[in-house]
Amino acid sequence: MKANPTDVLTGIYYIDGDVAAGYGALAAGCKLVAGYPITPSTEAFEAMCRKGPQVGTVFIQMEDEFGSISAVLGAVWSGVKSMTITSGPGYSLMMESIGFGAMLETPFVLLNIQRGGPSTGVPTKTGQADMMQSRWGSHGDYELIAISPDSPQEMFDYTIKAFNLAEKYRCPVMIMSDECVGHMTEKVVIPEADKIEIEPRRFYKGPPEEYLPFSPDPDLVPKIAKAGDGLGLYITGRVHDERGYPVKNEEFKAKYVRRLVDKIRLNKDKIIELKEESTDDADVVVVSYGISSRVAVKGVEIARQKGIKVGALRLVTVWPFPDEKIIDLAKKVKAFVVPEINYGQIVFDVARCCHGQANVVLIPHGGAGVHNPLDISDAIESAAKEDKKIEGVVEFKTRLEKIVFERGLKLKE
C-alpha cells in the first residue's frame, strides 16, 4: 500500500533528525501522537504538533509518560496508528506499558532520543546506554524490534519502516536514536507519496462471531481488530488464550507467551537489516550502531590507510540481535571492535555469539560526547596485531579515559 499523499510533506529539507522522525511518522500515517516533552526529543514532538493538525494527525501533551504511552495504546485499539516520543527518564516510566503493549500485541512506535544517563544524567548531550533497557526493560518474557538510525534522512526513512514493522508483527517497535542524530541537521529528501510503501494494519475481516483476537496466522502473527466494531473484545494484560480470556496454568503460559517470543525470533531473517562493508577478507570487523557507526567510518578509514584489513558491520536493526551474522563472521575474523556510548551493552551480545572464536574489544564512552575516531583506529590496529585468543571482552583504554584516570581530572572552580 502506498502512503496517503496528504500525510507526506514531499520536498527537500534542511532539518534535524528529531524533526525528520516526526515527518516520517506523519508520512507513515500516524494519526495520534501523545507525548510529554523531554530533552533531547522535544523537537520531534514539536514538529508533529506543528504539522500534525494540517494533515489530520491529533496531538496531545499528556500529564506524564505513563499517560502518553497508555494513550498511544488506547489509540491503536481504536484503530489508528500512533506513536510516542521520549528520552531517558521518560523511557524508564514507559517500561510498564511497553510490556503491556507487547502482551496485547499492539503495534505502536516509540522514538527514544537517548541522552546521557543514568537518572537525569546529561539531558542535553548524547548517550547509547538505553540499549539493553530497550530489550529487557519491562518485566516478563517478550520480544520487540529496535532500530538505530544514524542520520536525519534515516530518521525519516526508518520511522516509516518502524511503523511498517510494528503493523507487520503486531509488536512495539523502538527507534533507538540518540541526541547527536536527533540534533544533527542535514539534508532530508521526502519523496512523493507513491514512492513510500506503507504496511496496512492486519484487520480481521471475517464474521464477528468467529473472531479470535489472538489466533495466529501461519507467520505467528494474529489479525487485529478495533474497538466499536461489535466484536465484543476482551483484551487483557493477563496471560490469555486465543479468545483473549485469562488463563493461568503452565501449559497455557508455555503456549501463549512462547508465541510472543517466537513471532519475532522465527521471523528474524525478514526483520533484521544490516549494513555490511568489506567484511569478506577482514581481519577486524567494527560492529556499531547509531551515531557511533558514523564516527566509526572515520576510524575505519584511518586504519585502512595503515594497511589493516578492516570491515564494518552496522546494526540498523539492533533487536532482534543478528546472532547468525556474528557467529558466521567470528569463524573468519581475528577480532570484533565495538564502539558504543556506554560501558558495555551490545558488545556482550557480540561476545555471546563469538563463542571464543574471535577476540572482542569494547571501546567505551561514558556519554555526553562521541568517540574520538583515533581511538577507534588504534583499537582496530591493536586488535589486528593481537595473536593471542583472549577470553571475554577486552576494554580498550581511550584517550579520554587516560586523561581522566591516569593524569587525573582537575575540577574547575
Binding site: 495520534l32 491529533v58 499528556m62 505513563f66 494513550a71 495504546l73 491503536v76 489508528v80 474497538a227 466499536g228
Partner: protein, 251 residues
C-alpha cells in the same frame, strides 16, 4: 460488585446508546462472561491507567463512548484523573470506592478490613465529587451499591454528557475480604441506615466523615467545551482552511 454491573447495564439500556460503541478500559479484572453480557469492548489495563488509555481510545475514534471503570483511580491514576477532568476529555469514569465503614463501640469508623490494614484504616479518604468538580468535571454523582436504580439513571444521563463525568460508587471490594457474605450484608445494612440522598448538594459538603451520614446524589451537572471542541476551535482559528476539525461533533 454484581449489583453495580447490573445497574451499569441497565443504565446503558436506558441511555439508548449502542453497546457496541462502548469501550470499557479498566484496571478491575472483569469475568469474560460479565463482559460478554454487557456487550461492550473491554480492556484490562495496567493499574491506574484506565483514563489515559481511554483518552487514546476517544481521540483515536471520537465516535466511541469510553467508560473507564477505575479501581486505582486516585492512587496510580490520580494524575490522569486530575488532568482528564481539567481538559474535559469526554469519558464517563465509574469509580468503585471500596472504602468501608464499620461500627466500633457504636460509632462508624472507616475500616477496609483488608490484609493491608489489619488494625483498620486511619487515613482520610478523598472527596471524589468535590475533587472532580474542582478539576473541571462536568458531571459528578455518588451512589452506594444499594442505590441501583439511581445509579442506572446516572449512568444513562452521564453517557449523554459531553465531557468528563465521574460517578463514585461505594461498594465492598469482594476480593479483599475473607468473609464476604457477612461483610456484604453488614455493609449493605450500614449503607441503608447511614446514607441520605441530597441531589445538587455542593460537592464540597459531601466528604465521607465518620459518625455522619454518607451523602449520595447527583452533585454536578454543567456544560463546558471538551478537549476535542477546544482543539478544533483553536486550530480552526489559527490554521483556517488548512485544518480539518477532528471527530465532527462527537468530541
Amino acid at each position: 460488585m454484581n449489583s453495580i454491573i447490573s445497574a451499569f447495564s441497565k443504565g446503558i439500556e436506558k441511555s439508548g446508546i449502542d453497546r457496541k460503541k462502548i469501550s470499557m478500559p479498566s484496571d478491575v479484572p472483569f469475568n469474560p462472561d460479565v463482559v460478554k453480557a454487557l456487550g461492550v469492548d473491554y480492556f484490562q489495563i495496567p493499574r491506574g491507567r484506565a483514563i489515559a488509555f481511554g483518552t487514546g481510545l476517544k481521540l483515536g475514534n471520537p465516535s466511541l463512548k469510553v467508560v473507564p471503570v477505575a479501581g486505582d483511580l486516585m492512587t496510580l491514576g490520580g494524575n490522569h484523573f486530575v488532568h482528564g477532568a481539567r481538559r474535559n476529555m469526554e469519558l464517563l469514569i465509574i469509580c468503585v470506592n471500596s472504602f468501608v465503614y464499620k461500627k466500633i463501640a457504636g460509632k462508624p469508623i472507616p475500616s477496609t478490613q483488608s490484609a493491608f490494614s489489619p488494625y483498620s484504616t486511619f487515613e482520610e479518604p478523598f472527596n471524589f465529587p468535590h475533587l472532580g468538580n474542582s478539576c473541571g468535571a462536568i458531571y459528578t454523582a455518588r451512589w452506594t451499591a444499594l442505590h441501583t436504580e439511581e445509579l442506572a439513571d446516572s449512568v444513562a444521563e452521564a453517557l449523554h454528557k459531553h465531557g468528563l463525568s465521574v460517578i463514585e460508587v461505594l461498594a465492598p471490594g469482594p476480593n479483599y475480604y475473607t468473609d464476604i457474605d457477612s461483610i456484604e450484608l453488614e455493609l449493605l445494612k450500614f449503607y441503608h441506615e447511614n446514607s441520605t440522598i441530597k441531589n445538587n448538594e455542593d460537592p464540597k459538603n459531601v466528604a465521607i466523615v465518620p459518625d455522619e451520614k454518607i451523602i449520595v446524589g447527583k452533585f454536578t451537572d454543567k456544560e463546558r467545551p471538551t478537549f476535542i471542541d477546544s482543539y478544533n476551535v483553536q486550530h480552526s482559528k489559527i490554521l483556517g482552511d488548512k485544518f480539518t476539525p477532528h471527530g465532527g461533533k462527537n468530541g
